[in-house]
Amino acid sequence: MALSVEHATKKFGDFTAVDDLSLRVEEGEMHGFLGANGSGKTTTFRMILGLLDPTQGQITWNGKPITYESSPIIGYLPEERGLYSKMKVEDQLIYLAQLRKMSKVDARRETAAWLERFEVPHYAGKKVEELSKGNQQKIQLIASLVHKPSLIILDEPFSGLDPVNVGMLKSAILDVQKQGATIVFSSHRMDHVEELCDDMSILDHGKVVVSGSIREVKRNFGKQNVRLKIDQDLASLSRLPGVENYTKTIDGALLQISDESSAQSILEEAMKLGQLRHFSIEEPSLEEIFIAKVGKAYA
């Protein structure tokens, strides 16, 4: 039971949107997709959903290609939010669930339960256009979860939400995952990926540049950060072997090192300089990895 993308390539004329992308997401796992705009995330998602056919390679769910036969088990939240603006929330959710082959009775019950969970049951009879953007987003997420899918694709599920709503949606997604759903999602926010995902990939120009479990990715990145708090100037430390980057901070410095072994000599040097108040070795953030791999900031 797994989602498997094998050497998928999608070309639009001369333009290669996705280039030899391979990916495996085991059942019940959450996979995070990072990538700049135009890096091929949405095209990959569309290929997984069967909206686009890969030029080369294949995509399977449990060993079988994904077709409209698999429609009931798939949930999708598109990057561009889309709902009928003039349709009532409840009618709309029931309709979309029915299209995924859920019975009307079940759809009605699930819709009510989800609206309750997101604390918006009073919106059931309202038109979508009357709702605020954040609330529309909740409805959109419900539309992708209401029919109890086992493979869920979420394209930027948290963009444009306030922290309270992000928390609410996050916990809902985690609950769905606990119930056994496999989830692939993309996000603008590295911290969301770090917090929610087991595995992750970074896409750049249609290619996967980094992939694996978050711990693995960080370890394989090799570089680590050393944070120092001291009153004296630490510029001299940047000349030590193994130090790749030196950034002065308000109360000290942040050094990027290529190897943990260099940390020892930094500590010794720093202690010679003055009264050291703080010394720590930190894992690299996904942000740093992203910048290092893609060569530019994400958002």
Partner: protein, 415 residues
């Protein structure tokens, strides 16, 4: 099949429940009742009118009596009354509105009369008076020439004039004029229907695309199924609406009981309703609808914003308008060569072949061939449209033109 019905039902119900649909249906149905009862309504407004009084300045004195007799004979409610007032005073009266009209009559070699009313272009009363004066004049002349009543009667016997057509497919003149009204009304209905409902489809598709709900829809069900379910749903809505109009119209004229309704029925050819004409009308409506609906869905799938729909629909509208020109001009001459030819061209056939079927007795193979051509076109267009639709609904861009069809096919292409 399940999801087909879900979309079908949704397309039907959401449109049927919109205020604009309900209001349009009610207004048109009400218009039928209004039209059917128009004579009654007009009468009820003119109820208090006891007929106008015509003041007659008559030198000889005897003419007024004759005029009154003539007017009564022709069932006019104008009252001719001799007057002692001078013409000046009468004119004054008309200007002030106390008098409606007056007549100055003088008897000479021929009768001369002057009808004066507030406005010279008043048709009703003036014509009635003129006819009456004419009749008196005729009677006087007959008397002078010494003709008997029988001789006068003979003089006015109309010629026996009949039209006959040589062509076999032509109907008799009587049949034609009966068919013409019915065919005219039905062509108009088909014309409105093939513009109105396919437009609805294009708007609907463009709306789903611009609101981006399309991506969810086509990740749930195949675009082809979605497209055809939508076409079928709106098509059924069209049939229901047309049926409501038909039933409303029928009852409106049946229940009004006015003379005009009877006259209308016979003139329009409804008195002997030809079942085959109606069946053909329904058939050609359906074919025309499907043909244009597929085209409209295809075009609707190309635009990103609903505002761009009309622009892209223009070529299609031209096709419909041209076919309506052919059909309406063909009512007068259904056997013209261009009518015959265009009745086999798929985009013109729904209107034009229906016109020929309704107006002429053409052999059955002709409409059947035309229907076969249309079915084939619908099939090809459906296949082609589905391919464009598949890619078109995923396409978002600023410029929309027919050139995008190629782009859409490539995008939706398998491989």
């Amino acid at each position: 099949m399940h999801s087909f019905w879900i979309i079908f039902k949704q397309a039907f119900m959401t449109k049927a429940r919109t205020k604009s649909f309900i209001i349009t249906t009610i207004i048109v149905a009400a218009a039928f009742f209004l039209l059917a009862n128009l004579p009654n309504i007009i009468e009820s407004f003119q109820g208090e009118d006891d007929g106008q009084v015509l003041h007659v300045i008559d030198e000889s004195g005897g003419l007024t009596v004759q005029l009154q007799a003539q007017l009564e004979q022709s069932e006019s409610d104008i009252q001719a009354m001799p007057t002692d007032l001078s013409e000046e005073e009468l004119k004054q009266g008309i200007t002030e509105g106390t008098i409606e009209s007056y007549l100055v009559m003088e008897e000479g070699n021929t009768l001369s009369a002057r009808y004066v009313s507030e406005s010279a272009n008043e048709i009703g009363a003036g014509a009635e008076v003129e006819n009456a004066v004419q009749a008196i004049q005729t009677a006087m002349t007959a008397e002078r020439l010494g003709l008997t009543d029988a001789e006068v009667g003979e003089l006015f016997t109309p010629a026996d004039f009949a039209r006959e057509a040589v062509s076999e497919s032509s109907k008799t003149e009587e049949e034609l004029s009966q068919a013409r009204g019915l065919v005219y009304v039905l062509i108009l209905l088909i014309y409105v229907a093939v513009i109105y409902y396919p437009n609805m489809i294009a708007m609907e598709v463009a709306n789903e695309k611009s609101s981006r709900v399309m991506e969810i829809l086509i990740s749930s069900v195949s675009p082809v199924k979605h497209m055809f379910a939508k076409i079928a749903g709106i098509g059924t809505l069209g049939i229901v609406q047309m049926m409501i109009f038909g039933i409303a119209g029928y009852f409106a004229f049946k229940t009004s009981g006015s003379d005009m309704a009877e006259g209308f029925f016979s003139v329009m050819g409804f008195s002997e309703i030809k079942v085959s004409t109606f069946l053909f009308a329904i058939l050609f409506f359906l074919l025309g609808y499907f043909l244009y609906a597929v085209l409209a869905a295809l075009l609707g799938s190309l635009v990103s914003r609903t505002e761009d729909v009309q622009q892209l629909m223009l070529p299609m509208m031209f096709l419909i308008i041209i076919s309506s020109f052919i059909a309406f001009s063909g009512i007068g001459m259904p056997e013209a060569g261009y009518v015959t030819i265009s009745s086999f061209i798929p985009f013109f056939a729904p209107l034009v072949m229906f016109l020929r079927v309704g107006m002429l007795d053409i052999p059955l193979w002709e409409p059947l061939l035309s229907i076969a051509i249309m079915l084939l076109t619908i099939g090809v267009l459906g296949w082609f449209g589905a391919r464009v639709y598949r890619g078109g609904v995923l396409m978002y861009g600023s410029s929309q033109s027919l050139k995008d069809i190629g782009k859409a096919i490539r995008l939706g292409n398998k491989k």
